[in-house]
Structures are given as C-alpha cells and as structure tokens.
C-alpha cells in the first residue's frame, strides 16, 4: 500500500475551489439499458441517501432503467462474494484499502484507473491511496468520517479541565476524572473492533504512521520492542482504571449510556457515534471533540475509514456504471449526500461543502491540516482479515488481562509468520 501523504491536496484544492472553473461533469452522455446496483446502505439515513442518489441519477438519464437492491449492511459483508460471483450487478458498495484486496486479486472488481485520470477526480486525491492496489484504482469513495475523542464538555468544565494535546495532559486529565468518581473512557469491546481504534491511535502516536503500516503489512514482528512500547503506554491507562469495567460484555452502543449518564467522560469513536449520543439526549453544549493527543514526536496519523462504490468486473452496463461513479463523487452530489441532514459525514470531494455541524467542521479541519502522518483506514481494514481477527481478540484480552501481554504477543507473532507468506 502506498503512503498517503496527500492531505495537503485537500487544502490546496479547497483554496482554489472558487477561483477555478466549474468542474466538467459529463452529464451529456445518453445512457440506456439497465443499471443494477446493490448497496449496503441499509440504516435509515444512508438508505434515504442511496435512494435519493438513484432518483437524481435516474432523472439525469431518463432512458436508463436503474434497479436498486439494498442489503443489510452486516449481511453484505458475507453476501458480496455470492453477489459478485454469478450474474453480478453493475455497481456495489464496499470498503477501501485491504478490505478490497481479495476481490481485486480474484478479478471481481473492475479497474477504474481511467476514471481517476479525469480532471474531475483530482479533487479526490486525499483518498486515492486508499483506493489503489497494484498501482491501479478499483473503485471510488463516497464518504468518510474522522475518529477522535468525543468528550463531555460539561464534565471537563466542572473539573476545570481543557482539551489535552500531550499524553501527560491526557493522563493528568484522566486522573482528575477518576478522582471525581467517574471513568475516563467508555468502550464496548464485545465485537472487538473498538479496541482496534485504541491500538491504531496509541501505536501510530508512539511509533508513527509508517511503522503502523509496516506492522499492518506484516513487516515487523509483534514481539518488537516498539510494539511493546505501544502496549506499555496503553497499559498506563489500563492500570489507572481509566476504562469502564466489564467492557468485554458490551457492544459499542451498549457502552454509550455510560457517557450519556455521565459515568464516563469520553469515548474514542468514529463520528457516527455523534448521532447516537445526540439521540441519547446530549446537547452540543455538553458534547465536544478533540484530536487524540501526541505521545511521541511523530506526525499525527488519523483513522478515517472510507466507504466506497465499485464496479463488478462482470458488469453488463459498464458505461452507465462509470457514469454513476462519476455522479457519486461529483461536487454537488458529495455536498448533498454528506450534509448534516443526510449522511452527516465528510465529503470525499475537496470542492464539496462540509455540512454545517461542528463535529464535521472540526473533523475536516483536523484531517486537512493536522494529519500529516497519514490516513489510516482502521485496524480491521488495514490489516489482512485473518490477522485483524487474531489481533483484535488479543487487544481485547490485553485490555482485560494486561498481564497476559507476553502470551498475546507470542500468539500474534505466530499468526503473523503464518499469515504473511
């Protein structure tokens, strides 16, 4: 995987947005026939967005008969294999980075590098790396979202704390929160991946983005001293009792009430958690966001998982499929679908407008100006599937029984030597 030091692009493109000519959107082509789309945007808000996109696209191309199937998001993770196998649809949803590797290797995703060479796609430079395998691009992104620490501003104010920027401040804050009878962080690790977020951040802050990606590619043994340093930093928090008890029993949603009830002060999560926290009754005055603090002197790297559209290599209507992908990433559509009342996430097109929401604004600012280390796709998308499942299980065990670390690392190293051949 290529390094993705491309975030400067966003700033560059954004500044030239108004000055430059409007990007050519090739709506002129007359499309006909059928376009079959299978989408995994099954949650209520994304579903409305997907249906809206199809309606808009259908209006532009009245002769095109669009057939949209929406599949449950979790079920799609396993169904995509069958769907792409026999009689594949034209366009499908999936995820960036390593997650698309099996389908690229099996030749099930179509190479769309030609789209990426079009001038309109320059506005997508920040996510190009995540869509690139073997020097070719295999799909287009449609949304992404930042990760970071969401915290109860009212609790911080009550204790006189401010947003920490260094590991020392983070720990000092946490101690103050603990002294007030609360927990610092809520987390639910029943489904494992939430622990991956903590590892991504502590490891990339301790050893840097490049080290983290080398570890993901299996180039560094898990028993390496630098990896141990990551766990040692993490352990400082665990030994303080910073995390809520019994987190191995909760899903991430079940861990939310701790934050909503004020029993825990913060949550390392993706931006999608904001909607759930607001539903839980937290107002924007009570809720705020800060970037994961610095640990060692390395550039900030950020988790910003990207969701994508791909064309199946067996697509029947390649022209319409490519046109749909162009439409998805177009400036207007990106502004529309990522707005606060739609997906409420970050647009992938640098020329698109960010939704009027303080978390989106902060997240965009952070990813544009303060993530010079690189953009991570998240533990379970950067690491190969089998390593990710071994790894996340080990991370959960470490969070409950930190003394088992040697055994965990030996196990992960064993797995690494077998998996990356």
């Amino acid at each position: 995987m290529k390094s993705r030091k491309t975030t400067a692009w966003i700033a560059l493109c954004a500044s030239t947005l108004l000055a430059g000519p409007a990007l050519a959107e090739s709506h002129g082509m007359a499309l006909s026939g059928d376009l079959r789309i299978i989408s995994d945007m099954s949650n209520p808000a994304p579903r409305a967005v997907m249906e809206g996109m199809v309606a808009d696209f259908g209006e532009m191309h009245p002769d095109l008969n669009i057939e949209l199937t929406i599949v449950d998001r979790e079920a799609w993770k396993t169904q995509i294999r069958n769907a792409l196998g026999a009689n594949p649809p034209d366009v499908v949803n999936w995820y960036a980075a390593n997650r698309m590797l099996p389908y690229v290797n099996a030749g099930l995703f179509a190479d769309v590098s030609d789209l990426w060479e079009e001038p309109a796609f320059e506005a997508l430079a920040s996510t190009k790396g995540a869509m690139t395998i073997n020097d070719a691009q295999w799909g287009v992104p449609y949304t992404y979202y930042q990760w970071g620490i969401y915290y109860r501003k009212d609790i911080f104010d009550e204790l006189g704390l401010s947003e920490p920027t260094t590991w020392e401040e983070e720990k000092a804050n946490c101690q103050a929160i603990l002294d007030s009878g609360r927990k610092c962080y809520t987390i639910g690790t029943k489904f494992l991946w939430t622990a991956g977020g903590w590892f991504d951040y502590i490891n990339s802050r301790t050893n840097g983005y490049d080290f983290h990606m080398q570890l993901a590619r299996g180039e560094i043994p898990w028993t390496d001293d630098r990896v141990r340093q990551t766990f040692a930093n993490w352990r400082e928090l665990i030994d303080m009792g910073a995390f809520i008890d019994d987190h191995q029993t909760y899903s991430w949603q079940e861990a939310l009430p701790f934050m909503v009830n004020g029993e825990a002060a913060s949550y390392l999560m993706g931006n999608f958690a904001v909607a759930a926290m607001r539903d839980g009754g937290l107002t924007d005055d009570q809720l705020d966001f800060y970037q994961f603090p610095k640990i060692a002197e390395v550039d900030y790297a950020e988790d910003a998982p990207t969701d994508t559209f791909h064309i199946a290599s067996g697509a029947q209507n390649m022209d319409a499929a490519k046109e749909f992908l162009r439409f998805v990433v177009s400036t207007e559509n990106q502004t529309k679908i990522n707005a606060g009342d739609a997906l409420g996430q970050l647009p992938v097109n640098a020329n698109a407008e960010i939704g009027d929401d303080k978390f989106l604004q902060q997240g965009f600012d952070m990813l544009s100006n303060n993530a010079s280390g690189g953009i991570m796709q998240f533990f379970d998308r950067d690491f190969p599937a089998e390593m990710a499942s071994f790894g996340m299980e080990g991370l959960q065990e470490f969070m409950v029984f930190p003394d088992n670390l040697d055994d965990i690392l030996a196990r992960l190293e064993d797995a690494r030597q077998r998996i990356y051949k």
Binding site: R81, D245, D246, T249, A388, Q396, D414
Partner: protein
C-alpha cells in the same frame, strides 16, 4: 363380448419391461426422489467438505492443494503447536456434551411433577414448555440481559445475599457455563415433553401391581417407571447430544465467541473461519467441519446400532 366369434390367433402380447420388473422396480422408483435429495443435499456436500479441507481456498479464486496441512495445523502435528482456538473449542464442546445431559434428569423430574391431575395443569404444562417454543436467539438475549454485570437480575439476586457483582459472560472461566445454563432452559423443556408423553404410555396395571408388592418412591421410579420410559429416554438422549454438538446460536448471540474466544465451540469456530466477516478460509473451516463430523459420527453410529439392536430384539 358379443364379438367373440373370431378366435384370437395371435400369441399374447409381450408385456412391457416395466410390467415384468414391477415388483423390483417400484420400491426403487418410490425411493428415488428421497435418495436423490439425500445425495444432493447430504452425501455429496459431505464429500465436497472432505475435498475442500485438503485445499487452501478463499471462496473466490482458485483452490490450492495443500494435502493434510490444514489437519496438521489444527491438531499440531509436526513441529507446530496445536491450534489454540481449536483446543479451546474442542474442550468447550466436551463441556457442552457433559453438562447438557443434565437436561434429561431435570426434564424427567419436572415431567413427574407435572404428571398429575389438578385444576389448570395444562396451563402449568404449557408454561414449562414455553422456553422450548421461543427461538434460541430470544433465549440467548433474555439470558444475556439476566447476566448483565450491572443491571442484570442475577446480580440483583445474589446481591440480596451479600455477594459481590459477577460478570458471568465477561469472565473467560465462567462464560461457557453461563451459556450452557441458558441452553439447558429450553432443552429441559424439550426433555420434559418427551417424558410427559412417555408417562402417558406407562401401563397403570404394572404400577398397580408394583404398589401391591409394596414398591414406592425411588424404588417404584427406578424399577417400574423408568424401564417403561426407555424409548423416551433414548430419544431425549439423542436430541440432547445432537443439540449440544450443534450449539451455535446461543454462543453467537450471547458472547459472539468471546471474551477472547473462550466460549467458542467447534461449530462456531468453523463458521468463524469459513463464513464470518474475517473468515473465508474455506479449507481450514472445512477441516474443522470434518472433525466435527467424525465426532458426531461416533454418536450417530452408536444410536443407529442401538436402534438396530432394538428392532432385532422386537422381532
């Protein structure tokens, strides 16, 4: 009738092939659909599983022949350690097998208790049968709420007696037992129904005779009732063993195999390796399936053998 004037000089027409072989062919014809479906849905997939287990395959591309490498990794043959996940899963399966059998005596005693004629007994019976009617997923959910570390009813109950809170499903040493306890709830109901029907068939004359001979209580149960319940016991034993080996939905709902994989059983591990989000190692999953199959085959062979013995004895 009226035209029988010309004698028939032709020899009798040759009967068709089917007519001649009717006796031999008809049973086969009737069996054919069943044999076909059994072959397509059971026999051939078993053979395919064996075949896949000798390959490395991600379900998409070409399968690579690896011989017995999957089995060697599972069982730790050669210079590698036994797969720890497999080891945990295997011992959890054994725990399930042994503890799940508790459903049989429990079901028997509830059945004996309910086998009386009082007002409204049918309501009581259906209440006891209720857990078997609801889906395993619901049972799993109900029990995981019951076990919740803070709000759960269990902790409220033991709190009354002054014991500290426990997080059964979060503790790797207790989680499996917690799930088995949840599984026993519907399984006991199932065994109870089997025994209730069995008790209907108990010969009252034998009970009467035993009573005259002075048998009661445990001796009556052991020497008079239980022998007559043998068919029910056999069926209860079969469904319980099979149920224990198939345990999957409860684990998936209650712990998802966790914490850190301590509640996996073979069927869950097989699913994880081959079909879950991070799976698609079809060859390895198939190898686990084959081992599970061999385990089950041991029990099934025993059941078939003992049924065969019964049939022979009955003749």
């Amino acid at each position: 009738m009226s035209h029988a004037t010309v004698p028939d000089t032709h020899p009798p027409a040759q009967r068709g092939w089917y007519k001649r072989n009717e006796i031999a062919v008809t049973p086969l014809l009737f069996l054919a659909p069943a044999i076909l479906f059994f072959a397509v849905y059971v026999i051939i997939p078993i053979a395919q599983s064996f075949w896949i287990s000798l390959h490395e395959w991600d379900g998409l591309g070409e399968a690579t022949w690896v011989g017995t490498a999957n089995y060697e990794r599972l069982l730790g043959i050669g210079d590698q350690n036994m797969d720890r996940k497999f080891e945990t899963s295997f011992w959890n399966n054994i725990k399930w097998l042994v503890l799940y059998l508790l459903a049989i005596p429990a079901g028997l005693f509830i059945a004996l208790f309910l086998n009386q004629t009082v007002r409204g007994i049918r309501i009581y019976k259906s209440l006891f049968f209720f857990p078997f009617v609801i889906s395993q997923v619901v049972v799993g959910l109900v029990f995981s709420w019951f076990y919740l570390p803070r709000e759960g009813l269990l902790n409220a109950l033991i709190g009354l007696f002054g014991f500290g809170p426990v997080n059964i499903l979060g503790d790797p040493s207790m989680a499996t037992y917690g799930i088995i306890a949840a599984g026993l709830w519907p399984q006991t109901a199932y065994c109870m129904i089997l025994y209730l029907t069995g008790l209907n068939a108990v010969d009252p004359e034998q009970v009467e005779a035993a009573r005259l001979d002075g048998a009661k209580g445990w001796r009556m149960l052991w020497y008079v009732i239980l022998p007559q319940l043998r068919p029910a016991t056999f069926i209860a034993f079969v469904v319980t063993i099979i149920g224990a080996l198939r345990s999957f939905d409860l684990i998936s709902v209650m712990t998802n195999g966790g914490p850190f994989g301590s509640t996996r059983v073979l069927s869950f591990y097989m699913f994880e390796e081959s079909l879950s989000e991070f799976g698609f190692r079809m060859g390895y999953g198939a190898a686990i399936a084959v081992i599970l199959f061999i385990l089950m085959l041991g029990f099934i062979a025993y059941f078939l053998w003992s049924m065969y013995q019964d049939e022979k004895g009955g003749r």
